[in-house]
């Protein structure tokens, strides 16, 4: 498919195009139409701004997300554009090729929208409700913890550890996510706990 038009058409109804052409055809009548469209209307007008930082590297550039709809007003918000934040001391509005394409990360075709489960030996995922997924996870974790929890080592020292399940934290989740995760994971006695820092 030729993608170049796909988004462009969203921009301008074909109607305008035709009118422009018909008028433009006779040279002069077209001027108004021509001028009207020569400079595109500024597309950020009327959007809602939200401050954020780029989720990729550790420069943490300031970005502004422009959305239709305002979350703070309890509305549904669809992000329509993302651009660098000039007020940010580090990036002063600039962005790298990754940051400049953040909109397409947020709207990526491969964003996940539903919990899914792959049964042993299956060759595909099937949908599962959040409730069933979370219950299943808790069940699996408890069964493994109950079976393998080590309260004391061979020398009778209290060690209270669980070594047969591991937890791998990420690299871009917030400090708040990190701390809540720490509490939940450590409280279970998991030792195989790591993040992307060393990779």
């Amino acid at each position: 498919m030729n993608m170049e038009l796909s988004r462009r058409t969203l921009l301008k109804g074909a109607g305008v195009g035709l009118a422009g052409t018909a008028l433009g055809a006779f040279g002069f009548g077209g001027i108004e139409a021509a001028y009207a469209d020569a400079i595109r209307a500024f597309k950020l007008v009327g959007t809602t701004e939200t401050r954020n930082t780029c989720p990729y590297c550790s420069v943490a550039c300031g970005v502004i997300m422009y959305s239709k709809g305002d979350l703070t007003k309890g509305e549904k918000a669809e992000i329509t554009h993302i651009e660098g934040d000039v007020d940010h001391p580090t990036n002063r509005g600039t962005l790298c090729p990754k940051g400049a394409a953040l909109l397409d990360f947020v709207k990526s075709e491969t964003r996940l929208t539903k919990p899914r489960i792959r049964k042993p030996g299956a060759d595909k995922f099937e949908d599962i409700s959040w409730n069933d997924a979370l219950d299943r996870i808790a069940r699996l974790m408890k069964d493994d913890r109950d079976a393998n929890f080590e309260a004391q080592n061979q020398d009778g020292v209290t060690v209270n550890r669980w070594k047969t399940t591991g937890f791998l934290a990420a690299s871009a989740s917030t400090n708040e996510t990190a701390f809540l995760t720490y509490k939940v994971v450590r409280s279970t006695g998991i030792l195989a706990f790591d993040n992307q820092a060393r990779v």
């Binding site: 170049e4 660098g84 962005l95 090729p97 940051g99």
Partner: protein
């Protein structure tokens, strides 16, 4: 750092320029503008460019363009050329500097130069399909474009591309919509190292001169500004470490001009052609008036009859 423009406002604001500021309009004439806008320019400092392609992405995003996912052909250029969706493209050249023995990775952001004397506009047959504002921006007006591709032939930098989808010509608009609300082009805003800066052309030239001084102090004796007079100067300029040989930057033309062929076609031929046609018609009339119609006489008919009768069974 070069002071960045403030964040764009989401409040409606009046456009800072428009139809009344046109200085040129393809295949038609415009009234002299009531005012002269400050000429603007985009300055691309090749010596600061890290070839990250943020400009390419910012351009796609701002202009709501989609480019196709291509393939790797053994080089860093992607896509491999300008396209109707890609108004700008980083071109990479690995150049061994004979004098220093050093390798130099020359990376040039290609795209419309917004010529003072735009060849595309000169070549365009469709009234109002290409316009030039007094601030120097040369813009394509999609609605008036007929897709003939004459602009491609007119352009000394081989920039415009015709869409296979809607058969319209496309190229960098210098983000005329952003400039109209006091912003700079999307590429300039994104550029991480400010290798691209945007502002009044005068300021850009000053900024360039400071950069050139710095480059000379680092041993680039031929550092200079690329603002070719052959096309009336450009509103997209380069700072080059080797301004004496622009051609090493992925064939940046040394002294670009509108092709003489195009000049001939759009000049002499246009007028001489119509004159010739008109005069042929004229001569026809004159001849007819002078020598009148060439009619068949009764005599001719009789001769024909006689001929046919003398020869029975003829024909």
């Amino acid at each position: 750092m070069y002071p960045p423009l403030p964040n764009p406002s989401v409040q409606p604001s009046a456009m800072q320029y428009g139809q009344e500021d046109l200085v040129r309009r393809s295949a038609s004439t415009v009234p002299t503008p009531p005012r002269q806008l400050t000429p603007v320019a985009k300055l691309i400092d090749v010596s600061k460019c890290i070839g990250c392609k943020a400009c390419q992405v910012a351009c796609l995003e701002w202009n709501d363009m989609r480019e196709e996912v291509g393939v790797n052909t053994g080089v860093y250029e992607n896509p491999h050329d300008l396209t109707p969706a890609s108004f700008t493209l980083m071109r990479f050249t690995e150049w061994e500097n004979g004098e220093t023995g050093n390798l130099e990775w020359l990376i040039r952001k290609d795209g419309c130069m917004h010529c003072g004397d735009p060849g595309c506009l000169k070549a365009c047959p469709a009234p109002g399909a290409i316009v030039q504002y007094s601030n120097g921006i040369v813009d394509f007006v999609k609605e008036n474009c007929i897709g003939c591709g004459y602009c491609v032939k007119g352009c000394p930098f081989n920039i415009p591309r015709i869409s296979k989808v809607d058969h319209k010509a496309y190229k960098c608009t210098l983000c005329s919509d952003r400039v109209a609300v006091g912003q700079g082009p999307a590429c300039a805003k994104a550029c991480p190292t400010q290798a691209i800066v945007f502002g009044p052309k005068e300021d850009m030239i000053q900024h360039a001169n400071a950069r050139i001084e710095d480059l000379k102090s680092r041993g680039f004796q031929n550092a200079g500004l690329y603002d070719p007079p052959g096309v009336g100067g450009t509103h997209v300029m380069y700072v080059l470490h080797h301004a004496d040989k622009p051609e090493i930057y992925a064939d940046l033309p040394k002294d670009p001009k509108i092709s003489p062929v195009v000049e001939l076609w759009k000049g002499l031929t246009k007028y001489a052609g119509l004159t010739a046609i008109a005069s042929f018609v004229g001569i026809g009339f004159l001849h007819h008036i002078v020598s009148g119609a060439n009619r068949v006489s009764a005599e001719d008919e009789r001769n024909a009859k006689r001929l046919t009768e003398n020869q029975p069974g003829g024909g």
